[in-house]
């Protein structure tokens, strides 16, 4: 039974629609990756699903309820979102930022309970950021900072976590570190992960389910083997790709590509 899906979702202002009548199902406890060229609406889709922007028609449905009409604090206990390159308030410490993730569970003046402290500690441990606890977030490196933000999303204790390009501005090793952390969360903690990724091979390597978008509609959604193919990539990115098998992971990968220049 799929918990989260969109039904004929249209997003945009007035006549100009960024996404039109899009229906997609997000498989439970899997890693789903949304790929597509710049401006195809992949970030927009992620924002609409997570109610950060409103949609024009259609619906996002979570556990049988329309997300647009559901209480926002109840939703915050079910899904967490890590936006693209979020900024922190200057001087805020790592521990303080991660503690903000407990907001949906707090009432009144918002003193942290014993349970809150436990969850925060756990989130710091999971993301290997415990040693930064008392340091200001803005003193950390890009990779460390991204892990701290993931810790905050973890402290929210949601079954679904959305991430908008979590590897942007990170070097190769740190990109892998973040993605492996997400994979670990998916495997060990059974979290459903939905993310927008730029890199095709990273998408193929880490995703169970890939949604390929172009100009606001789905070109293909399915397993890596179904999506990372010559035909789909031509349709989505307008590239002529050479697909091989990653010798280490056994997943399909794009070995080389050229711009597509019409039929040969």
């Amino acid at each position: 039974m799929v918990r989260l899906y969109t039904d004929d979702l249209s997003i945009g202002y007035g006549e100009q629609l960024i996404i039109k009548d899009l229906s997609v199902q997000i498989p439970n406890q899997k890693i789903t990756t949304i790929i597509g060229p710049n401006g195809c609406g992949k970030s927009t889709l992620l924002k609409a699903i997570t109610r950060i922007i409103s949609h024009q028609s259609g619906a996002v449905v979570l556990d049988g309820k329309n997300v647009a009409k559901e209480n926002t604090k109840i939703l915050a206990k079910k899904m967490a979102i890590l936006p693209q390159t979020p900024e922190s308030a200057s001087g805020l410490t790592v521990g303080e930022l991660v503690s903000y993730g407990r907001f949906p569970y707090q009432t009144g003046f918002g003193r942290l309970s014993k349970k809150d402290y436990e969850v925060i500690d756990w989130a710091l441990q999971m993301t290997n950021t415990s040693s930064f606890k008392y340091l200001p977030v803005d003193s950390l490196s890009g990779g460390q900072r991204q892990r701290v933000w993931i810790a905050m999303a973890l402290a929210q204790e949601t079954e679904i976590i959305f991430l908008d390009e979590p590897t942007t501005y990170l070097d190769m090793a740190h990109q892998l570190e973040v993605l492996e952390l997400l994979q670990q969360l998916n495997k060990e903690e059974k979290r459903t992960i939905v993310m927008v990724l730029h890199d095709l091979n990273q998408a193929a390597r880490f995703a169970d389910y890939i949604v390929a978008l172009k100009a606001g509609h789905i070109v293909k959604a399915g397993s890596c083997e179904e999506v990372i193919t010559k035909e789909v990539l031509r349709g989505v990115f307008n590239i002529d790709a050479e697909i091989g098998i990653d010798p280490r992971t056994g997943k399909p990968m794009c070995i080389s590509y050229d711009l597509f220049k019409g039929e040969k």
């Binding site: 926002t72 979102i81 936006p83 903000y100």
Partner: protein, 335 residues
């Protein structure tokens, strides 16, 4: 996950600032145009003074000291809220049209109402308050977009525009008025604490007593609003609703202060900023510090202003601006 040391530092700062306020209040009570020597302060306070001493302390100095502290606190709290909901460290109650709105209302009222000296004094804060609220309402409407809601950056721009337009309007009004009225309005605009009397304290105090705990109650939400919009939404903050409630809170606080003190800028800018650099950006920690800094700053400025030029002194608003303007420049340079 709050560092104990951070909390300890905040407690120490609270004590230091409270002591500073008490010391400054004591000094302020002892100096001024009429003599009331320091060694007579305590006896007078305890009811042992002469008639003249009691009059100076209880009817002149003390109400003024209390009103400046309270007004400074209200402005600082207002500024703290505004900086967070607009996510702009340069925000100040002045930018959402509080000063100019209240000022324009006071000018119009003063120029066009037949004046009865007795009752009108107590009407002025109400007039100023209404003027500030109406201006804030228009600024809000103009910075509201049906699709994306309240736009913090636009709020600042529209606010600055409104301030300029209203200042121009006031000059037009004043230019045709007679000398005595112009003097009063000019004094009001530069923040000459004029409402230094016990009834004004009673008019200002309830706002602080209600809205200070209310703001602390909202501290969690302010933390998130200050952070980042998508993050706040994702964590379940109803941002539109919270922003409106908090904006109204800030307007009410600043309007209640400005209506008795006249147009005072910069306190709402400086106090939160200094507080944040001392204890960090978490509202639970910095707001109490910010309030004490605001109260002390205005008291300090008024004490200096009252005593540098005999006999009338210079308005507190001018002294605050003398301190605030360089601070503002420093902030801009740092950015």
């Amino acid at each position: 996950m709050i560092h104990r040391q951070q909390v300890k530092k905040q407690r120490i700062l609270l004590i230091v600032l409270l002591s500073l306020i008490i010391i400054t209040a004591f000094v302020s009570a002892g100096i001024g145009y009429s003599t009331l020597s320091f060694n007579r302060l305590l006896p007078t306070f305890l009811g042992q003074g002469t008639f003249k001493e009691e009059f100076v302390l209880f009817s002149v100095r003390l109400p003024r000291i209390i009103i400046t502290i309270l007004a400074g606190m209200a402005l600082a709290l207002s500024g703290s809220i505004l900086q967070s909901i607009t996510r702009n460290d340069l925000a100040d109650p002045g930018i959402i049209g509080i000063n100019s709105g209240a000022g324009a209302a006071v000018s119009i009222f003063f120029l066009f109402m037949p004046i009865q000296p007795g009752s009108f004094v107590y009407l002025l804060p109400i007039v100023a308050f209404v003027g500030a609220l109406i201006t804030a309402f228009f600024i809000y409407i103009l910075s509201y977009n049906r699709e994306v809601g309240l736009q913090p950056v636009r709020l600042v721009l529209v606010g600055v525009g409104f301030s300029m337009a209203l200042s121009g309007l006031m000059i037009v009004f004043i230019s045709s008025a007679d000398r005595q009225k112009v003097d009063f309005i000019a004094n009001w605009m530069v923040g000459n604490i004029w409402g230094a009397d016990w009834p004004f304290i009673l008019a200002l105090l309830p706002w602080l007593i209600i809205l200070f705990p209310f703001t602390l109650y909202k501290a969690n939400k302010l933390n998130l609003l200050n952070l980042n919009e998508p993050v706040a939404i994702g964590l379940g903050v109803a941002i539109e609703k919270e922003r409106i409630i908090l904006l109204l809170t800030a307007v009410a606080l600043a309007a209640s202060a400005v209506s008795v003190t006249g147009g005072i800028a910069f306190i709402g800018l400086m106090a939160p900023h200094i507080a944040k650099s001392l204890v960090g950006p978490r509202h639970q920690l910095f707001i109490p510090i910010s309030i004490l800094i605001g109260g002390w700053l205005l008291l300090f400025a008024d004490t200096i202003g009252r005593n540098v030029v005999e006999p009338n002194g210079i308005p507190a608003g001018v002294v605050v601006a003398l301190i605030g303007a360089p601070y503002f420049m420093y902030l801009l340079m740092k950015k």
